[in-house]
């Protein structure tokens, strides 16, 4: 177990892919299969890589794993033992061997040695690391959790499969041994190709739950929700209560990042980040939490709440920068998505009362930081602070809707990051929800109390 490893500094990725191109063949048959791919993956993320067959998912996975020679671009992997990134470009084979030891590989085929028992196959991986004092116990705990120990999913006793050879195991059981082999050293990066394809629902859930808990500890309530109903039919999907208890021991050390190529919809819903590839390119890189954050923020605003969910999603996706809202955006991340997020320093005015509305006017959704709102209740009176708004709150839509000057001043209290919707985008979607907006406007005209 890699207890001496460290995670990268806060806000830094565990994996950074920059401008990666890749070619197969030589001469006339040389074909480009990856095109200028850039991606950052943060510690503890569960990343799903999706895309049609031949889109380059597996190729990029093999490049990350140091299994192919990186031709163009750069891939950097955090080496927790060294406390630094390892760059794969031009790295000689002996160093690549060390990089591979940082990673846990789960293959679509189990690739177990048929001459070795389950424990011996796992021990092959354990031999590569200075592991815990009792490596066998560690391996047996994993196998037990993966339903290959002395208890089945219904908590009934069964014969442990620890010393079974692959020929004595079913396809799913072999795959679970392969999963245990990949995770026994508690790598900080896991690369998996369809890890649940050969697994039944319970085993698949156990594997994914393990990966999620190795990423970060989950609240007891979340884990409790996974416990299957003991009285239900045998087909009922879930984890046994003893598995949950064991999970806490196995996943005591967190921070594991997993990149999973899968078409399994059950896993898709659990992803922290979804990377979609098409024809060798990363077409989308969505941090699920950010997408939910933006979509929920937009939904609070009546003009956006009136839109169909698909339209809401479309606008939200146009604002995303691929960074979890818990983390501040770095300048390079902002520069990679110009116009999506603006940053204001403390004391800086974001909008001023009386500013005219023009083509540069925007709608704002606070990503990080706090703003204060100042307005005059009656003409001629000095401005007074009427509200403080934090992350997830929005402002600026009324002036855009009513095409009138700003009716308040909004000022940054601390460093503020703001998702912005420009007027062109705002107007484009406004037409879709025209009837609803008219009703809202009528409401504003009657009351005249709404901010901005």
């Amino acid at each position: 177990m890699s207890s001496k490893t460290t995670l990268p500094p806060t806000g830094s990725p565990v994996l950074r892919i920059t401008g990666v191109n890749h070619y197969f063949g030589t001469g006339d048959t040389r074909t480009q299969v990856l095109f200028d791919n850039t991606l950052e993956v943060m510690p503890g993320e569960l990343v799903i890589m999706s895309g049609p067959s031949g889109s380059g998912k597996t190729t990029i996975l093999t490049l990350i794993g140091g299994l192919r020679t990186l031709q163009e671009g750069e891939i950097e992997i955090w080496d927790g033992e060294r406390g630094d990134y390892r760059k794969l470009r031009g790295t000689p084979e002996p160093d690549l061997v060390h990089v591979r030891r940082l990673i846990g590989f789960i293959f679509q085929r189990h690739n177990l040695f048929d001459s070795l028992t389950a424990m011996q196959n796992i021990r092959m991986a354990q031999r590569l690391q200075a592991g815990p004092s009792d490596p066998d116990a560690n391996a047996q705990e994993l196998l037990q959790y993966l339903l290959l120990g002395d208890r089945d999913i219904q908590s009934k006793p069964q014969k442990p499969r620890f010393h079974y050879k692959p020929a004595q195991l079913s396809g799913g059981q072999r795959q679970r041994v392969a999963v245990a082999r990949a995770l026994v050293n508690r790598p900080k990066l896991v690369l998996a190709d369809e890890p649940t394809a050969a697994l039944d629902a319970n085993s698949g859930l156990a594997v994914v739950t393990l990966l999620r808990n190795l990423a970060r500890a989950r609240p007891d309530s979340e884990l409790a929700a996974l416990v299957r109903d003991e009285n239900a039919e045998s087909e009922s999907s879930g984890l046994a209560s003893w598995q949950i208890a064991l999970l806490k021991t196995i996943a005591a050390e967190t921070g594991t990042t997993s990149l999973i190529v899968t078409h399994d919809a059950r896993i898709m819903n659990l992803a922290d980040r979804i990377v979609h590839m098409e024809r060798g390119r990363i077409e989308s890189n969505v941090v699920v939490a950010e997408r939910l954050f933006v979509r929920d923020g937009l939904r609070q605003s009546p003009p956006f709440a009136a839109l169909l969910p698909e339209e809401q999603q479309k606008i939200a996706d146009e604002l995303l920068i691929g960074v979890h809202p818990d983390f501040p955006a770095r300048p390079d991340q902002l520069a990679a998505h110009p116009g999506r997020v603006e940053v204001f320093e403390p004391g800086e005015d974001i909008v001023r009362i009386g500013d005219p509305v023009n083509d540069q006017s925007k709608f704002y959704l606070i990503r990080r930081g706090t703003v204060e709102v100042w307005r005059a209740t009656q003409n001629g009176e000095p401005l007074r602070k009427v509200a403080e708004l934090g992350p997830g709150r929005y402002f600026g839509e009324v002036a855009l809707l009513m095409n009138q000057t700003r009716n308040a001043t909004v000022r940054a209290i601390d460093r503020v990051e703001m998702y912005t919707v420009d007027r062109a985008t705002f107007d484009r979607h406004k037409t879709v929800s025209r009837p609803f907006i008219d009703r809202i406007l009528e409401n504003f005209r009657v009351n005249g109390e709404r901010l901005d």
Partner: protein
């Protein structure tokens, strides 16, 4: 750290039937090499059996005498000089002749008594005990004092038609009291016989007294007034107990250094010299060397096929090991271990089968085939070299396994 996994052994032993077949393949190669080596050694050994039986610590021999087969001798004066050197207990002359001894066939039928055949004749002092011949008693040596008697070799070349002439040699029946002719003189065979065997130079051996040897074989060809026994073929030097053999050898070499007509050799050096002559002057070395090489190559191919098929069968698993961080040198070591296991499992039964073949061939051909510890050691070294060489060739395949293929 977790306990090591004996991957090489597990991979080989996993399928027991296949493993037995693998071991049988290596065993076959071991037997092939062992038998070729055995025949080669037997042929070389047969030429030195007499020297093996020589009761001597050092031997004086003419430097130009590359083999016992030749005639050049050592002057008796040198033997006398050697006797005076401190540490020398005794000096005994041994006379050997390959050309002049013509033995008439011993068959009783006078009609067939015309046939004679060349035989090696050795002349020694019957009291000297210079030859260590199991089966020859002191009474037999006493009988030899009578001129016209000879001890005979029970292992003379057998008659080619043993069905019609069972137990007979090419010289006829050799047993006590048989009377026949040696170089035109009547001779009587005495004693129960000894076992020296035939070789490239002779079909058999008679031992006579030095007196008989001098009168019958050397006398007719020696000028009057000259001692026919003045020229000694081998001088067997025995040393006092506890004396350093090499030290005395150096003393004797220094003594004869001005004359350069005597080589002073230990018995093992003399044996090596004799073998070297036959090795370099006959096709034995080449013929059986090719046989051994053939066995080596066959074994190498068998072992290579075994290792290659194992690598092909486990390509995905080896690729997985590479992917999870095992270096090429580990995989190469696994292949090498498999080769060494195959060498060990093929060698042990191969050694026993080889031993069995030696016994069989010795019985059938009369050749003395002996599997000594050094020879078994040589066979082991050849077996290991064969398997290691095949592993060295097969390692290239495992190095080419692409870890990217596992995805």
């Amino acid at each position: 750290m977790a306990a090591p996994v004996p991957l090489a052994w597990r991979n080989l032993a996993h399928d027991r039937v296949r493993f037995v077949l693998f071991a049988a393949g290596i065993t076959f190669a071991v037997v092939l090499m062992g038998v070729q080596l055995g025949i080669m050694n037997a042929m070389l050994d047969s030429n030195t059996v007499l020297l093996d039986r020589l009761h001597a610590d050092l031997v004086l021999v003419n430097p130009t005498r590359q083999s016992l087969l030749f005639r050049e001798g050592v002057n008796r004066r040198r033997a006398e000089q050697a006797r005076q050197v401190a540490g020398v207990a005794s000096v005994e002359p041994v006379y050997i002749d390959y050309q002049l001894g013509m033995l008439r066939h011993t068959a009783a039928d006078p009609g067939t008594r015309t046939q004679t055949r060349r035989i090696r004749v050795i002349g020694v002092d019957p009291d000297s005990q210079v030859l260590n011949l199991p089966g020859v008693s002191s009474r037999d040596w006493e009988k030899l004092r009578v001129t016209g008697t000879a001890l005979y070799d029970r292992k003379s070349r057998p008659h080619p038609d043993q069905t019609q002439y069972p137990g007979e040699s090419v010289f006829g029946r050799l047993e006590e009291n048989v009377q026949t002719e040696l170089s035109g003189r009547n001779i009587t065979l005495v004693g129960n016989g000894f076992d020296l065997g035939f070789d490239f130079g002779t079909d058999g051996t008679l031992i006579v007294s030095d007196r008989t040897f001098g009168e019958w074989l050397r006398g007719p060809y020696t000028p009057p007034g000259v001692d026919p026994l003045a020229d000694i073929d081998l001088v067997a030097v025995r040393l006092d107990p506890g004396v350093n053999v090499v030290a005395v050898q150096r003393k004797l070499q220094a003594l004869f250094s001005d004359h350069r007509d005597v080589d002073v050799l230990t018995r093992s050096e003399m044996i090596a010299r004799e073998k070297w002559f036959w090795w370099t002057n006959t096709p034995i070395g080449f013929a059986f060397g090719v046989g051994v090489a053939l066995g080596f190559v066959v074994g190498l191919v068998i072992c290579y096929q075994i290792l290659s098929s194992d690598i092909a069968d486990h390509a995905a698993e080896y690729a997985t090991l590479k992917a999870i961080g095992y270096p090429n040198r580990y995989l190469s070591w696994v292949v090498m271990q498999e080769a060494l296991i195959l060498a060990a499992t093929g060698f042990v039964p191969g050694l026993f089968v080889t031993l069995g073949v030696y016994v069989l061939l010795s019985h059938v051909t009369g050749l003395s085939m002996q599997l000594t510890v050094p020879r078994a050691g040589l066979l082991l070294v050849l077996t290991i070299a064969m398997c290691v060489a095949s592993a060295w060739l097969a390692v290239g395949k495992v190095k080419k396994v692409d870890p990217a293929d596992v995805f």
